[in-house]
Symmetry: D2
Subunit: 237 residues, 4 copies
């Protein structure tokens, strides 16, 4: 299964776990994220893990207007020159309390979580189609069962969900486009927050945070689910 | 039931029908849309219908950054000075074929259909809460069963749906926030398009376009559904 | 709007409220339920309310194998001889703790809440089609967000939901078939139960039980929603 | 991953594929189905595949009232004496044209697809809990987007879906209970039916039947998805 997978948001906690899992199963990866040092460090680690040269990295800031074309250009400059599949694991989870919700919060969050990823899938659709590839995006169960203080984030994930759904119809049958909506994943820094714990207890049947490995398991399953497009699978709620 | 209802997108086909129906049942309306002439003409007609002075109008362009605050300011300048309920009937239905999908399409459509309406609800939430008011938004069944050539529009309606859902949790229990997702409404100009007819046949159990009156019926039902928030009701699919 | 509406489960709390509301808006009703005394008493009350002769009643036990044909036969014997619309408001809400769940619980609850109502719609489909009629059924939001101690009931409401959805496709476009899924409706006898109150707080954005009037409002809306079939509208969750 | 998985409906096309895949990944299986010869033959094949003794079989007819207890008793008599996980792959797909839909169709189909499986999960819940086990059931996307001629089947799958959802809440967090809803799986005997092909084209983005392997992939993914309960994942629509 030596496919080339673009991991967007590769240096976030889930992005790193996904990239590692892809490398472990012999996929090639192209890593993109904003911070060049984190990218280089992750690439180094993954090269050691694979016993190969470090994977290609493309440094890009999804908030910039040219994010999608600049990532495509970066891919063209790598040895491989193209990708087969995309995992969208963009990271930020901005807290936007209602009282202080501003236009900029919505614009910025929609740009990072919806506009840039959708344009990127669009820009790479020929690569994806040629490889009969798949897009798997991380979403959030909050789009159907929202929690407070995250209107901008939930709006953006709803935009991404609907936009990918529309792209799944446009790009079928050659490209499969699916989303995985997550509950609350364990985060050593955040788990001490009593609000998180309370939210968890009130919502999750399983009564615990998910692990990165549990998310990775379903990301890989969905990448390989060749008879599935336009779907949203939920976990951890 | 003499409530004051802000109708956003009042001069569109559905907006006009909704405004008329509200006036017919003795609601006061405040009309907002972009075109001052159409607004004046509609206000005149509604005044005659009600046998009163024409309702207040607030001319505003939802694509402008200051759309929400400028509508609020306009409301404050009306005789009533405040509103009780909001109907979001923003109109544009841009065609964005995949081949030529541009960043601007997504930004523009998200601004008109999601960012501006969400900010407006946010800005008027004190009015709504004081009146134990309701927000009813028109959405599109395409968010769950998309059609081609409308990625930007479907993305924006998905953003609106998720954002309103999040607001419903933030604003409960004083404000109710719901969405009505529509199938294809009859449009004398567009109905000759064979693609519309084909899409209809392939999708709709009832096999026909909806009428504005049928949409109005459910908008009013949802405005009055005092035990409902955060819901999406579908019609016409 | 002088239609003839069969109200199934007419003597339950919601059934009574629905029958009254129908009579108030000049619909004719045919009432069916199990207890002849309650039926007679309700018919008497509704006759007084309408200033007419009491409406027709058909006494039937939905647990009996011949429930559907016997109700149809009863309808044929009434003055009207036929019905235009059906409201399914079957009442029982059996508690079936997991430890003691028995086969009979599932069979019995499925019979009352799914098999008998589906067969009744089926048996009356020619009446419905001739009148371009509607079926509105009361369901329960527990099918998508279940609570404990009601596996049999939730299973049966899930069966009804899917079965009506299938019938909506079979009977389109002449007959419309829709469901209303409810949260927890106020019940003077049950509301003292602290478990109910706790369940409510944990689940409902609006934080209160619904009233029968609030349910009736949506039942009537859905009866009149001429551009809607195969849908499930949720309220009170 | 040497778990013991009960495969219900093991001799159907999907059941066989699932049983093979489980054996290939070193799971132990207990097979149950109605036909003793088919069961024996499958057990023989799986023994050869594993290079071990044939797996245990429990012959049972899900239409019988004592199906669940008799399967449990059969399991107790096997060498293993207990199971860890359950895959519900019950087979029949009865065609029930609307004109001739009978009470028996609904009763029979509900018994096989919902009552017996739910009672079986209930009866084995202590085994499942002790093993922190999972239930994965095959459902049908027809519950949300129905097709004609299958009211009984769709009703039964809707009952199973809701019932398992209710059980997922009752049995959490020790037991995970999930469903996989399928589109139309390839079937050499049935694929020549032009109605199937037409239904496919009208509904499926991918425009083809699924393979048993593609279903198996998601069944195994869901068995291993340790942070998931009460979910329905859709494929092939």
């Amino acid at each position: 299964m030596s496919r080339t997978v673009l991991v967007v948001g590769a240096t976030g906690r889930l992005g790193v776990a996904i990239a590692r899992a892809l490398v472990k199963r012999q996929s090639r990866v192209v890593l993109t994220a904003r911070d060049p040092d984190k990218l280089a460090s992750l690439a180094h680690e993954l090269g050691e893990l694979a016993g190969t040269a470090p994977p290609s990295v493309v440094c890009a800031d999804l908030t910039r207007e040219d994010a999608a074309p600049s990532i495509v250009e970066g891919i063209r400059r790598t040895d491989l020159g193209k990708i087969d599949d995309i995992v969208l694991a963009c990271g930020p989870f901005p807290r936007t309390p209602l009282e202080t919700l501003r236009r900029e919060d919505l614009q910025h969050t929609l740009t990072v979580h919806a506009i840039a990823p959708l344009l990127l899938v669009h820009a790479l659709s020929a690569d994806l189609a040629a490889a009969r590839g798949a897009v798997v995006a991380l979403g959030d169960v909050g789009t159907s069962r929202p929690y407070t203080n995250h209107v901008a984030y939930i709006t953006a994930k709803g935009a991404l969900k609907a936009g990918l759904r529309a792209l799944s119809v446009e790009l079928a049958p050659d490209v499969r486009v699916n989303m995985l909506q997550l509950g609350i994943v364990a985060d050593p820094e955040a788990d001490a927050d009593p609000l998180r714990t309370h939210r968890l207890a009130a919502r999750s049947s399983l009564g615990r945070f998910g692990t990165a490995e549990e998310v990775v398991h379903v990301v890989l399953s969905l990448l390989d689910a060749t008879w599935t497009t336009g779907e949203t699978w939920n976990i951890g709620r």
